[in-house]
Symmetry: D2
Subunit: 119 residues, 4 copies
Amino acid sequence: MKSFEETKQRLRVFCEERDWDQFHSPKNLAMALIVEAAELVEHFQWLTEEESAVLPASKLAAVAQEVADVQIFLIRLADKLDIDLDEAVAAKMAVNEQKYPADKARGNALKYTEFDDGD
Amino acid sequence: MKSFEETKQRLRVFCEERDWDQFHSPKNLAMALIVEAAELVEHFQWLTEEESAVLPASKLAAVAQEVADVQIFLIRLADKLDIDLDEAVAAKMAVNEQKYPADKARGNALKYTEFDDGD
Amino acid sequence: MKSFEETKQRLRVFCEERDWDQFHSPKNLAMALIVEAAELVEHFQWLTEEESAVLPASKLAAVAQEVADVQIFLIRLADKLDIDLDEAVAAKMAVNEQKYPADKARGNALKYTEFDDGD
Amino acid sequence: MKSFEETKQRLRVFCEERDWDQFHSPKNLAMALIVEAAELVEHFQWLTEEESAVLPASKLAAVAQEVADVQIFLIRLADKLDIDLDEAVAAKMAVNEQKYPADKARGNALKYTEFDDGD
C-alpha cells in the first residue's frame, strides 16, 4: 500500500528535476486539478448512469489515468499548502457524519441545509 | 498513516447507512468531484499566485476542507469503478516520467505534444 | 432582444465603478467562469436525466441565475480578450457542421476523431 | 449582430439532423459545458495573469474556439430549459448591482457576504 507521503516525495523530485516549482503556485495547481477533473467528466457526459457503471476495458483504463491525474495534482497542491491529506480527510468525514445523520439523510440527496427540521 | 483502503471502507459504511448508493453512479460522482474542485478553485480565483501560497489560517482551513472533499469523492469514484488508486497513480507517474524527460521539460510548461524535436 | 454588445458595455461600467478591472485578467475570469459552471452542474449532480428536464420552478429560477453568471463571465472574458462572441460562435458552428457530417454523426455521441472511416 | 435566438435555431437544426436530442438532457449539457469551460481554463493554467492578457495570435484563436464552445452549450442548455438568456442576464446584472454597491465593493474582491457592515 502506497501512502500520500511516498507520492508526495516522488512528485517533489519529479518537479525539481524539471524546474517546475516556478509554475506550481496553489492557484495554478487548483486550475490544473479542475482541468483533469473535467477530463474525467468528459468520459461520462454522454453516457447514461447505467453505462457509466460498466465501462468497456479501454475506456476504464483511460478513466483510471484521469483519476490518477486528479490524485497527483491533489497531492501536489496539498504539499504546496502544507495540508496533511490524511488528517483533512478524516476531519471532513467526521464533519459529514455529523451534518448528515443517517435518519435525516437516508434515501435522499438533500444538502444538509435543506433538511426539514419539522416535527 | 491512513490508506485509501481505510477511507474507502469508511465511505462504504457511511453511504450504506444513508442509502446513498442509488445516487453514486460514476457519472454522478464525477459531477460531484468537479463541483468540489470548483469550490477549491473559487478560493484562489481573485488571488495573485503569490497570495495563493501564503493563505491566512482561516482560509487555509477552508481550503483544506475542499481538498478533503475532492479526495473523498475521488476515493468513492475509484471504489465504484474498481480502480486501484495506488496502482493508477504509480502507473501515471511512470508515464509522466517518460513523456516529460527532464532535459526537454526543464523550465517550461509545454505539453509533451508541443516539444520541438529540433535539429 | 439584447446583444452581447449591450451587456459588455453594462459590465464595463459595473466593473469600472467598483475598480474591479485589476482582478479581471483573462486567467482569473476563466477561473470565475468555471466556478459558475460548477454551480450549474451542482444543481444536476444527483438528478436523473429525466428529472433534469423537468425542474420545479424554484430550482429552475436558481439554475437560470447560474446560467446568467456563466454568460456574464463569458462576455466579460471575451471583452478582455477582444474576442467577438458572435463571430466566434458562427465560426465554430461552421466547423462543427463540417466535423460532424449528419450521416456519420447520426444517433451517436462519438467524437469526430472516433468515426470509423471504414468501407 | 447575431442574437441568441438565431444560434438557438441553428443549433436545433444541427442537433435534429444528427438525432442528438436524445443525448441533450440538461444534466448532460451542463457536463459538456463545464468540460468546455475547463478546456478554456487549460490555456491559462501555467500563464501569469499578465501573459494571459497578451496571448499570441495562434493561442488567442484556440481560446476563441473554446469560448465559442462554452457559448454554444450555454445557448443549447438554456433552450432545453426554456430559459430566456437575455432576461436571465439582465435580471442577474440587476441583482449584482444591488448586492455589490460601488462604495462597499470598490477595489476589493470580497463576496457580498463578507462585507463588514461597519459601525
